[in-house]
Symmetry: D3
Subunit: 259 residues, 6 copies
């Protein structure tokens, strides 16, 4: 008996069995994007995949393959495209991928879907992808489809933020490759974090607008938008605990999953 | 001599003259979206158009016609599509409109463009539209194009927020149809605000995720996401003053406009 | 009680009330396009918006925000893109805007829609937009949707043409920025017409084909395709009277509106 | 030596030779659309293909394969989709076909292209297709591309119309499957015209607007929008002579072809 | 009584009659592509059109107009775009054409459709076009639609191959412009084949990968991917007999056509 | 010093260093698709990722994140969409993903790209994606871009096939989830193969056409299109050795990589 929560690790009869038994499916959305000198380009893939796995274990859900390319990184939230290794999809392409996967899941009688996002710039095109999927399969009761869209950073409790930032929180927008993401990676994949190289330039002071085609000069050269000091695996576990426990609770309630 | 800053009020020889003299063009992005019981559906058109006009007067810029339909309203930021009168474009359509207008302005030798947005859900597809325009005309120095993208609420100074909310700011996400927008409308179009009908349900307590196809039950029935008490024309003028003065300063600096 | 016929001037409860009572919605389609030395770029926005307003007053309809950018201006019908200030959408983008707005109106239970067009080059992509909307919502009886598409110049009675052009009518294709449009603007917005600058080059003698990428040399330098002499506010009122009265009659009949 | 003017009848070395020698290419645009009880669905393919062939013989041009499916037939100009056998493309698809073929011709160093249209509803999406091709290959002198777009009915001289309609011309819009097209088919493919079955309902009296999704009741049941009486092969030859001679003259002038 | 099997040769009442009687419709998919020094660019149009005609005669089907432009020719299967006269559509455009035609046939109550393909590179975008059509009209029983997709070369019996290639078959991929296609053309249009110019370079030895943007050097300069020796009209008849007889049998069985 | 060949495992400065030194990038294309009762849905992801890794080690290349969703599975080559767990992208979406990633790599000055495909149905839309990328970045020498597209099964030597199938090869089309793929998985991920459950139905006998919307009845219920007997890890190593050694040789030659 295959106990994996990853859909792609199952054979089709195993998938049929789990889907037939009503398993929700979690679709993690990632990105290939710079995360400073101390973390690899896969941070936005690793974190939502790991959270999805934990949530799936607690809810009986399956985890679909993570989309590894995300919507265009922006200078003010992810450093932007000028950093080597950042590989973006356009918003339209990204939303079509989300649409197609949801439509296919629906076709296979998966009616309860969680879109679990790990990259800030995916927020809007993932909403669009869901809307396009609903356009395709219908929005009325008949379609039976119920979709939850979650950005993992929205699930951290204020108390946890206070605990992590006793001197005040710089704000979620600047948390790219900073304390929160570094702590999560230290908890999940410590061997991929090299704190000795955690260069940063202090909290970025972005002007309140975007500039094209050349990004503003305020982008920190390190790619870290805030600070990395104080990151720890323990704090990462606090964050994971917040995310997972609240996501599990919500999914159980929304999808009326039994105990 | 036609002194209007609105491009559409000019004849073509007047437009040619102003563009030839190097006038930047401001493209206001609006929406047709519910704004509670006390304000009309045009709030997100009126505000950015008015700000654009003032900024244009101070910078010698021209104001292109406001795009009156915006990207899909979301329950957590604008009430969502369930309110009567909210008419959305899909993200792809909206970004194509922004792309086409920018490409046309470039074709007409307008090289300095300000995209001035007044609707929260337009943030991302306006970025996409600008990127698509750059794909079309080229990103290198040769294109000569320089684009600034501004969301007006980002230009309010913290001091002003403190002045308006002496008891603490509920946060910008909940400011839909609330004190800030109501104050702005009281300053710009007082006759379209009926404070006597400014029903609200207190600050919305949204769960930290989206639900499709049916929006979450936490959407306030009034459509006002926070409060309306304390809104005044005077506060609206403070807000306008912040936006306009800082935008003018930035545009002059970025576009190297003389005194 | 808000008596405006403009949808965007209503609050959402007012919109709900009017739509719930069966008000048809008129969607005016405009353009930002040169109209000679004597009229501004907004002519194709002003005229259909004004006609829509009058028709709405007489039928109980609502007027949605006018689409201010139109399909590509062509040399033989609007002077083409070479004139400063003409800002075009591509046909695909324009038809997607029309599609999205109609689909949204349908979603909001508006079943009777009038697409009222004021720009010649919008004729075909507005048809396409309507077809795409029908593809999306369904064409059978179940959708309940009934759409009328009207180009205002088709509603002028032959007698009125004879009255305006006692020496013969140059033909509708050449009427760009000429007697008819100038008269309409003199009736609607006289302060935006400067007859003293109404340069024209006589009726354009276009060759019977299109040339790309450079337009034919026959495009009149003034941008006026025929003549402007003889334009008057009085004639504009005749034209408006023709349009409005016949449109009202047709809308009442088609939508079976009572007296 | 292969003397055919049809590109598809050549081998690739023959095509290379002719293109290398500077032959322009004519792209005929057709449709599969009802043409009354007396003519087949192929009228809009047969006529532009035949005219293209004659024009090519006189100018040294090549004729590319005719696009046999056209943009959506409309009730007021072609009877509309309700007639059996009318098979439409959407405007977007049609314009992409035109774009792709032109881009390919340009890639093969064909720089002088004539788009020769035989179906009324193709006018606008063929313009769009050409514009999209120019977007793809560039509009400046460097592309070397020169495109002429011709609708064959625009080339009939007024004298010929007077000769054919001594009692007055009902207008080109109503000439669908009527005297002009019937005469042309009698000249080109008499065996496909059965005048004995040329039912018609007299000149259609269309109301001046479109109705969706159900077409107006005024569509003549025969599919003939005007009359068929008086059609003859001789008149068809007059029409062909007008078209061909003027097109040849223009192509020679525009493309600076020698004698 | 019009006995033609070509839909476009019928009048609309004739089409209505045949469709009403349940005639399936065959949609031939072709291409305009090089076929060596000895055959014209129209081979991939001529062959599927001819086979469709024969199959239609035997099954009571109608033949829709052949799509004359195909999906991008590839170096390893058709010589690729470098040969003069090869005019490709992009895959997306081609699949939209297939989609639109099928959707239109369905709208006209044609429920049994055969897509009969004559160009190797059309295989995949024709599948996509059919899928897109099913997305549009629905996949359930209610749509009533049944579509068969056939590539004519799949219908040749192994015995026939053995008979034609007594020394062994080089494989279908290399059969471009080679013995099979040449034999078919000798049987169908002998006057368009010039065996005296049937240059070839022996069976192409392609490396097992694609190279972009410049095709691999192994493309035979002749455009013939294998050999032409041994082609004959008689062998062409064998091939046609295989295709037609098996297609007829399958269509009768699948569509439950009587005797 | 990070020795990983996987781009996403690098930090951005490491990526910059490797790309700056001229490392080619391999983009593996996978799918989530049924592979019988004995293998998981990830086979088409695992195999090309593993081959890419080995090839990268031998050539100094980097491996971009594998695209985990592939183009629509077809009944005759992959079982089709009816099997649980098969999640398809449409061809257009898939080709846009390939386009976007290549365009981004080019923007980051990666000029030598290998697209390494592991899913049969990806062949054509990956070609299209590459073509669309070339449309975007330009095809001339200036772009500097050189792309190789490889399907791993094309690299198996005939001798190896003979060794594996002493009784004759059923053909590559039927090798879905059969001896070749099973052997490869036994070599790469033996713990994900359960030979005890390797149900198969013997070589599938597909009719030579596709049927829509319901697939043909000949699809083997097991999802295995041929046989699984005889699969072994040793044979998998033979296959890997063929692929890797030949790919390495070609990449070195094509990209002129030194020793």
């Amino acid at each position: 008996m295959n106990a994996s929560v990853f859909l792609a690790d199952l054979t089709w009869p195993e998938a049929e069995c789990r889907i037939g038994a009503g398993a929700p499916v979690i679709l993690p959305l990632g990105a290939t994007e710079q995360h400073g000198h101390h973390m690899p380009l896969n941070v936005d893939v690793v974190i939502p995949t790991f959270i999805s796995e934990r949530v799936a274990r607690a809810t009986g859900a399956l985890v679909a393959p993570t989309v590894p390319y995300g919507n265009r990184s922006q200078p003010r939230s992810g450093g932007g495209p000028a950093f080597a290794g950042t590989i973006n999809l356009s918003a339209h392409t990204f939303s079509l991928v989300v649409r197609d996967v949801i439509v296919e899941l629906h076709r296979q009688k998966v009616h309860r879907i969680v879109v679990l996002n790990g990259h800030y710039e995916n927020v809007w095109p993932s909403i669009e992808g869901i809307e396009l999927a609903l356009d395709a399969v219908g929005r009325d009761e008949g379609s039976g489809l119920s979709i939850l869209r979650m950005d993992h950073w929205e699930f951290v409790r204020p108390q946890t933020i206070d605990q992590i930032f006793p001197n005040g929180f710089p704000g979620i927008e600047l948390e790219h490759a900073s304390v929160l993401e570094t702590s999560l990676m230290l908890a999940i994949r410590p061997n991929q974090v090299d704190l000795g190289r955690s260069l940063h330039d202090g909290p970025a002071k972005f002007r309140p607008y975007d500039r094209f085609p050349r990004p503003p000069v305020e982008v920190p050269p390190s790619g870290v938008l805030s600070m990395t000091e104080g990151a720890s695996a323990e704090k990462g576990e606090w964050l994971l605990e917040d995310c997972v426990s609240r996501m599990v609770e919500i999914i159980k309630e929304e999808f009326q999953l039994g105990q």
